[in-house]
């Protein structure tokens, strides 16, 4: 009796293990079918998990350092505010007739030496506007306004360097930079030649905004770098193949000339209609000469 029961149990166990085995086989088969439908999941016949994919390429990504929006690198100003000649009079006394015959000490008092910083900035802005203005009293044309904003931006950038935590100033500066950029964009569509002359005169770099604004992520950057790596690989292989084919060209042309000459001679000897023209052979010879000259040049230059 006992033996009979144990036999049944054994049989059940065996059938269970076989079923389990079959089930596992089936699931594996399904997984393989699935992976063949989605080729990204298999790599050299090994099932690779689809989530949290890790690349085997050793690409090192370095996150670019954040540059604040008010810095000259971002605003595009190539020149900082220059050292100003402080012996000049303040702007409102520049054309004063009384000062011409005044005492040297008085002259010094009315110069920029003892003036506040705003007076220096004022004079700098006036200089910039004068360098681009359209007529004697021009202050409101677009080029004069852009020049004035440029003066303000450069003066404030210097202040920001000394007071980096001044947030009101930062906002003010960013707003002027953006406004200048907007009007440069407009000026380009209104008058391209004037736009170029203006950015050259004021020494500003103009870059258009990118197609989309997005924050920099590790994943996205690595994707781009991988794409770049693959493109470089393809180009490298293509250029190597090109070089190989070019190296074979002279031998091919020599063979071509020899064959054509032989065929032409044969046709002549047999008295058949001559289909191969002399020009064809000359052309092949010419291209061979050119190729040899080019190769020699390349060798001597390298």
């Amino acid at each position: 009796m006992f033996a009979g029961y144990s036999y049944v149990w054994l049989m059940l166990l065996i059938s269970f293990t076989i079923e389990c085995g079959l089930f596992i086989m089936n699931t594996m088969k399904k997984a393989l079918q699935f992976s063949s439908r989605h080729p990204m999941l298999t790599f050299k016949n090994v099932i690779v998990r689809s989530y949290a994919f890790k690349s085997n390429l050793k690409i090192k990504w370095v996150r670019p350092e954040k540059i604040p929006c008010f810095k000259p690198e971002k605003s595009g100003d190539l020149d900082p505010m220059p050292e100003f000649d402080k012996s000049r009079y303040q702007l409102e006394y520049a054309n004063c007739k009384e000062l011409e015959n005044a005492d040297p000490l008085v002259k010094r008092l009315f110069s920029l030496e003892f003036a506040s910083r705003s007076k220096i900035t004022q004079a700098y802005k006036k200089d910039l506007v004068d360098s681009v203005k359209n007529h004697t009293f021009d202050e409101n044309s677009i080029e004069a306004r852009i020049a004035r904003w440029t003066g303000t931006i450069r003066a404030l950038q210097e202040v920001m360097e000394n007071h980096p935590r001044n947030r009101r100033l930062k906002v003010q500066l960013k707003e002027i930079i953006d406004k200048r950029k907007k009007y440069l964009k407009f000026l380009r569509t209104w008058d391209y030649k004037k736009f170029e002359w203006l950015i050259d005169n004021l020494n500003i770099i103009y870059k258009p905004p990118p197609p989309q604004f997005h924050w920099i992520t590790r994943k996205d950057s690595l994707r781009k770098l991988t794409q770049k790596y693959c493109d470089d690989k393809v180009n490298e292989k293509l250029s190597a193949y090109r070089l190989q084919l070019e190296a074979e060209q002279p031998a091919f042309l020599e063979e071509k000339i020899r064959t054509l000459e032989f065929l032409r001679q044969e046709q002549k000897d047999c008295g058949v209609e001559i289909t191969i023209k002399q020009e064809e052979i000359d052309e092949a010879k010419k291209s061979l000469d050119e190729l040899r000259k080019k190769n020699e040049k390349g060798k001597s230059s390298s």
Binding site: V62, R63, P64, T136, F137, E196, Y206, P208, P210, D220
Partner: protein, 159 residues
């Protein structure tokens, strides 16, 4: 499907957009497409590449492109026939005089002369052709991108 129908038309008017191709220009063709559910037209942009070996069109120009009899490459299907409106350098078709926005250049000059001449004024006759500052200070001919990787080298097209 939509692009197929655009590519069959022999003459197209488009807008030049920045591209890195040296022999061709990228042209944006704007059309209106009917949404049959809403019975309304919506804007649809198609991009084509036009053969332009001398790079006569700059970003922003309105150009006329012609269908090539045979494709140059799988990508280049058209060629630039004519630049209709040069960006920022427009000539009035009726009088043949140069225009800045809504005024003639000579009118603006006349007004400036009344106020008094300025030695720093921009001179159109001495100005070089458009595009002399390309890659130096003016980067409108390429599509810029946000800098995502520090290579140690200078990246001029990164913002």
């Amino acid at each position: 499907m939509a692009l197929q129908s655009v590519k069959k038309i022999s003459l197209l008017l488009g807008h030049c957009v920045p591209s890195v191709k040296s022999q061709a220009s990228k042209i944006r063709i704007k059309r209106l497409e009917l949404d049959t559910n809403l019975l309304m037209y919506f804007r649809k942009d198609d991009y084509i590449y036009a053969y332009d070996p001398n790079k006569i069109c700059k970003t922003g120009d309105i150009v006329l492109v012609e269908l090539l009899a045979e494709k140059l490459t799988p990508l280049i299907t058209h060629k630039v026939k004519e630049v209709v409106y040069r960006l920022g350098d427009i000539t009035d078709p009726l009088t043949g005089k140069k225009v800045v926005v809504d005024k003639f250049r000579h009118q603006i000059d006349a007004i400036d002369d009344v106020f008094g001449p300025s030695p720093s004024k921009f001179n159109y006759d001495k100005a070089p052709e458009r595009g002399w500052l390309e890659d130096k200070k003016d980067f409108t001919h390429v599509e810029t991108y946000i800098k995502y990787h520090e290579t140690g080298e200078e990246q001029p097209y990164a913002v």
